[in-house]
Symmetry: C4
Subunit: 231 residues, 4 copies
């Protein structure tokens, strides 16, 4: 059952199906969380310009993803700058165009059943994704902060962040993202070279925690390179 | 038709000409946007002291530019700290003196038909404009963030930021700015050595996006130089 | 007399014993201070993800410690995310689980009679605790800022910050913390390697001052390593 | 005529003498500005712990200085944390003790007739005052930002910031400050080694502008040292 059905006509409630009001409330809750995340990320300089994009699964059957529209500034989002897309990335009841990067969000949903996906674009992720790009990824190990990643219970974790070459061919890039993370529960995020971080979680709270954990660790690794010459 | 006419006497409306009320609203909208931009830039330390200045075209015929007055702190601007100038940089209906850098704003308007011009003065633009000053400019290439610049559709963009020697002879400097960017649609900003960034856009939203994009990329390049020794 | 008694039944007031209302007020005052400290530390990026934890002694006899619960985000704490534990770390009247790091808070209370303990997890403390980990500690000397530490009256202070290897065996780690600081009035904080800072004070004001002083000095030492190559 | 007189009894107004109400208003205006400056400086990490102190001349004849009291946190100042001192540094009508650094404020007032004095304690001023301490000072030259200093009209300014060794003998230190800046109109600020910046101005607006200008330039010089190895 899609939200568009709710909105065009309130159906009779049956079983566990949410009412129109509940569906609206849930949608508003999700975009409210994304607006707040955008404000926080903007204060951190993780979504300057019109960089970054955010999504959250609104409905599983049929699949509907609430996502930021193309070109919006992520630090000052308003509800009308969001739209819903189906599993083909087509807008549902919206005049807005989804971002070209919607294909990557859908690939991540399909690959690891995420409930929310956050893409940030920080200075440190730009730098490290370039520095470690030729190695195909970045290893994080020995940091207590890793325990903020879902399922990680010790700092002695060997966390691997894959890095993919950036591309404007989002169709190809999204397939590459899919194959890189499909079936790999141990992966929490992926870097696009000189572009930034995609991370995800069961819900927006978890995805936002993953952003904070990974951006913190990128800064640690980046600053360590600045100090290393003196050791 | 100038705003001063509107203010001294409300003329009869004819054709598409805006009413006095509309003109006032438009003026207030523009300076409201510049006040908000100043607050944001101040939080970023891009307009410390009394550095920086902002302008937006209020009227094309006759040409009138709304601009921050001389000596104002850009983080705490109030409406009375703005004034309008004509295409010669002379104040219209205002006891304030325009900033000496008004000539540069006018040169940019004349050279590339900008609707808004923002000058910021960050630590990284100060450092990079010095480091690359002898080369006459700074090349930005391969960064996804470049797509935040108007008309840029790929990270494989070769963006050239010209750097001019700083000078207190603003008349000469503004002519140099004019000749550097005249007819070059591909240029989005210019650095004055050890002084800062001038960027512009069709309107204030676009110009502010360009500030964020370019300041982000300056920080990336600057920090890369801090890490480079360890590669 | 424990708070739980107050809450289950208001006893007759006797001598200097606080009334139920006074006890509630004191508890609310303590968690209000910790909520405010969390907001400030979050703005500083000292408690990203779910890192960090805070506590304050609520009652000495019997011993009761008000402490942040497990998994809470420290930048947006709410009163229901706190709980009280006894001197064995067991929750009092609470369905929440205390953080695994509660054992370290109790060890610090036992070792140096602190009234409040704050654990932050900054980029610089992560880096320095690693860089100086093999030396067993970090020396701070010659900085005026040291006078912000309780009992320090001159910048010519030789302040030693012990560094312990990080571990997920909090029981063993807390004993190590205890033995490292027991009887050493001159110690104001301790670092866990690649994990962060524990500092304390007579009360939350003093502990927060110690966080600010030590994090400032870590940043000074860290940045000095970045510049050192050029001296 | 001192404020204490106003407060104990409202005298008949004569000539240009301010009324009790006017004197109170002026005092409240000054401490309101210092409270706001403290909040801004705290966001910048320029007054962590209990570092920093601020003053403004309240009355010239007799000399009365409004100054932050000892031990206050400068980010969250309240009116009762200020006091007035006379030209000997003795409190007027106040139970508070002035900061030990009051002697330095008085020396600066005496040496260059400042109306307001601001002391900040940033990471960069701590680092640069140490790095350049042996040279007795730090030269700033060629930066447009210098024009934010009172009386400076070109970036080709050779600005010299004297650096004095830090000391806990504030009586001796204040005499040294006095002799360093006495009769030198061209000096806008002074660094105490590993301690921080003292700057001043005709009024609090000007002094705060000088803080912003000098802290900006310290960051530029400090970061340049981080990049220099790669040039």
């Amino acid at each position: 059952m899609s939200l568009s059905m709710y909105i065009s006509a309130a159906p009779a409630q049956a079983g566990g199906a949410p009412s129109l009001e509940q569906a609206k409330d849930e949608y508003n809750r999700l975009i409210g969380q994304m607006i707040a995340a955008g404000e926080m990320f903007y204060r951190q300089n993780w979504v300057l310009g019109t960089s970054g994009n955010f999504s959250a699964v609104f409905s599983r059957k049929p699949f509907e993803l609430a996502i930021t529209g193309s070109g919006a500034h992520k630090g000052t989002l308003t509800p009308d700058q969001f739209l819903r897309v189906n599993d083909q990335g087509q807008p549902i009841d919206s005049p807005h165009q989804p971002s070209a990067e919607t294909a990557i969000h859908l690939a991540i949903c399909a690959a690891c059943d995420a409930g929310a996906i956050l893409h940030t674009h920080s200075v440190w992720s730009t730098l490290l994704s370039d520095m470690y790009g030729a190695s195909g990824g970045l290893e994080l190990n020995g940091y207590e902060m890793l325990k903020g990643l879902s399922g990680v219970t010790t700092h002695l974790r060997n966390e691997w962040i894959p890095i993919l070459e950036n591309s404007q061919d989002y169709s190809r890039l999204s397939r590459e993202v899919f194959h890189t993370i499909k079936g790999k529960r141990e992966v929490h995020g992926i870097l696009l070279r000189r572009h930034g971080l995609y991370t995800w979680g069961r819900d927006l709270e978890e995805a936002q925690r993953h952003v904070e954990v990974l951006e913190f660790l990128f800064e640690v690794i980046g600053r360590q390179h600045c100090m290393a010459a003196t050791l």
